[in-house]
């Protein structure tokens, strides 16, 4: 459940920009013989709709319906009482509230242009009942995930700016914590509160409590004491843009230089993206990014056999565990892939 700042900013995501994204999608759907695109949204799968309309739900599920011509609408299972809030925070022609989002979307399309060929972004992962309800209105269904990916993958300046801001928030939050802190809950509390005060829409902290014993990350549901050597991973969303950062923390000053070295080495490895071969020299590495609805989709890494190419112009969050003098150092940061590949949010690092 989101309880951070959910607010569509017309300064950061101007209406003309969102109109342009919708127009690009409409052009692509015309080429693919689709009459409409439907994108699903929940707090966990909000990336497609937030990119198109600036909207993120705090709860429940919804569908954005983009006809081949004309402005899109939003159908949400949130109650009608928050319709005004949704209208303020979504750039769409209309917002409808209904528990049967698939039926409403199907009916809208029927009234707009009759029976049609409807492309669904992220189709395999949508609840089957939503798809069945759209189809029950007479439409045929196709998977539009690849089409959407192609339109969305290269970040535009607004997308880069939002990710940059998310990364700045994450870095500021990490900087607010005392590396000598023993109480893991207090550490997470500082990070979480700081990120939300800076406008984060969501914050997911996780801690590897004692790297001498385990690399396992936990969410912290009880009092835990941090070891001398620990790591924190913070996943931050800012207006639909997600980044993930990981930082190893150590109490002893002498060892801190090893962490600095590891972070520098990691930045050098990640700077070689889109080529992942340098990163792949580490036993554990991962590249995540937004392609359709999942904000941080695993794209390539040590545990992915069939990874996909990392494209220039895309934004990714990269993480790895580096071995520095026998000590495992967990690191992670977001990057804009290009020539050169650039670390995001580093101005406040």
């Amino acid at each position: 459940m989101r309880r951070g700042l959910i607010s569509w900013s017309k300064d950061e995501l101007p209406e003309t920009l969102l109109d342009g994204r919708v127009a690009a999608l409409q052009a692509a759907m015309a080429g693919a013989g689709l009459d409409a695109i439907v994108a699903y949204t929940t707090p966990a799968r909000a990336a497609a709709v937030s990119w198109l309309a600036g909207f993120v739900p705090y709860w429940n599920q919804g569908l954005m319906v983009v006809p081949r011509q004309g402005r899109p609408i939003l159908v949400s299972a949130l109650s009608n009482r928050v319709n005004g809030w949704m209208r303020r925070n979504a750039h769409v022609a209309d917002v409808m509230n209904s528990p049967r989002i698939g039926s409403e979307a199907g009916k809208f399309l029927m009234s707009h242009a009759g029976k049609g060929n409807v492309g669904v972004v992220d189709l395999p992962h949508l609840p089957a009942v939503v798809i069945e309800d759209i189809a029950a209105e007479g439409h045929t269904i196709a998977d539009a995930s690849a089409l959407f990916r192609a339109v969305r993958v290269v970040a535009d300046p607004a997308d880069i700016a939002l990710h940059e801001r998310a990364a700045e928030i994450a870095r500021s939050a990490l900087a607010a914590c005392d590396p000598r802190e023993r109480d893991a809950s207090r550490l997470v509390s500082r990070i979480d509160g700081e990120a939300r005060r800076l406008g984060a829409e969501e914050v997911y902290p996780a801690v590897a409590v004692d790297l001498a014993k385990s690399f396992g990350m936990i969410r912290l549901e009880k009092a835990v004491e941090l070891g001398d050597f620990s790591a924190i991973r913070i996943s931050v969303a800012y207006k639909g843009a997600w980044v993930r950062l990981t930082k190893t923390m150590v109490r002893k000053d002498g060892v801190r230089s090893q962490i600095d070295s590891a972070e520098k080495a990691f930045a050098d490895l990640a700077a070689k993206l889109p080529d992942t071969s340098a990163l792949a020299t580490n036993a554990t590495w991962l590249v995540e990014g937004t392609r359709t609805a999942l904000p941080l989709e695993p794209l390539a890494g040590s545990m992915i056999d069939d990874g996909e190419p990392i494209l220039p112009g895309s934004i990714v969050s990269v993480s790895a565990t580096l071995d520095v003098g026998g000590a495992p150092i967990m690191v992670g940061a977001p990057f804009l892939v290009g020539s050169p590949t650039r670390l995001l949010g580093s101005s406040q690092a």
Binding site: A44, R45, R81, P124, H125, S185, M217
Partner: protein, 367 residues
Amino acid sequence: MTTLSADRRARLGEAMRNEGIDALVICGTSWQEAYLRYVADFGILEGNGLAILTADGRCRMWLESVADWERAQTEAKGTEVHFARDMAKAVTGEIQAIANQKVAVTPRHLMPAWLAKAEPERRLRLDDAGPLIERLFMIKMPGELDAIRRAAALADDGYAYFMEVARPGRTQFEVVADVEAFLRAKGSADNFQIIGSGRADVRGMTPPSERKLAVGDMVTTELTPAIDGYFAQICRTMVLGRADQTQKKAFAIWLESMEAGIAAVRAGVTAADIARAENDVFRKYGLGDYVTSKYTRVRGHGLGLMPDMRPAILEDVDVVLETGMTIIVHPNTYHPEAGYMVLGDVVVVGDTGCEVLTRTPRRLFEV
């Protein structure tokens, strides 16, 4: 596994045996997190997850987020955890292997399209296990009630802190950020919170915005921390400054309504009975329009592994309350002169009445 998660697993296994179910397929995502939490003791945050619990007690779970998979390896004790970038590819074979058994799925409304596709293709029949697990969700075991009691105590503390930090000039999201940090420091990993501030122009609560609190504002919040995955909620209204007569008069109706609702709670009555007790008070004061869906969603609801669960407290819901259920009674709605006002307490249903868990005074606070 913790004692509580082992108890849940055992209870679910018994329910499966009683229904003759050989395997249960459980779908999960963050906004419907109770399902995976119940079976695998895992609070999913990112992407989709799916677990298969078989009659022999074996539980396997697949997660499409690496971050969640990493957490689950430590957090989901007693469950075999797998990363699955392509869930259909990873799990379809496992489903096929149990296709000749009696298999049920829950929640049916979250069943992903790839799994629905497997039903005819793999000659698989997936029964709906919704009624089975929802009954377990509703009627709590002692260990579950203990977690909810602790969450309710934290909700009380959280509201006291909310009153400290909700000050004129601060934005709604800054205030909620402070509360979040407070709850985190006390070991709560999750919280559901919405807020409203202003006067008669405010018709409901929403996620926190950039709106600044101002002197004279009525500030409403629904604060819902979780302990060990179990949520407890408190709803209170405060005024920044002195409450005026309109606000005080309105609050008296809300108080009477909530107390009438709570007085009606006991095993054997229906959710509708509670809602009617609350709404009759509004109707008595000529405010009957304001208990309709135009102004309010529900008059309370169940809670537990999610902040909002069955039964909804509404006049058309005939769910019979049973001992061990936990609900919040909250006559939250709009008042035409005062604005949106909230008041709610969590209770445990007993044989002859209920135990109120939240202890914050039932006052229109002035700060």
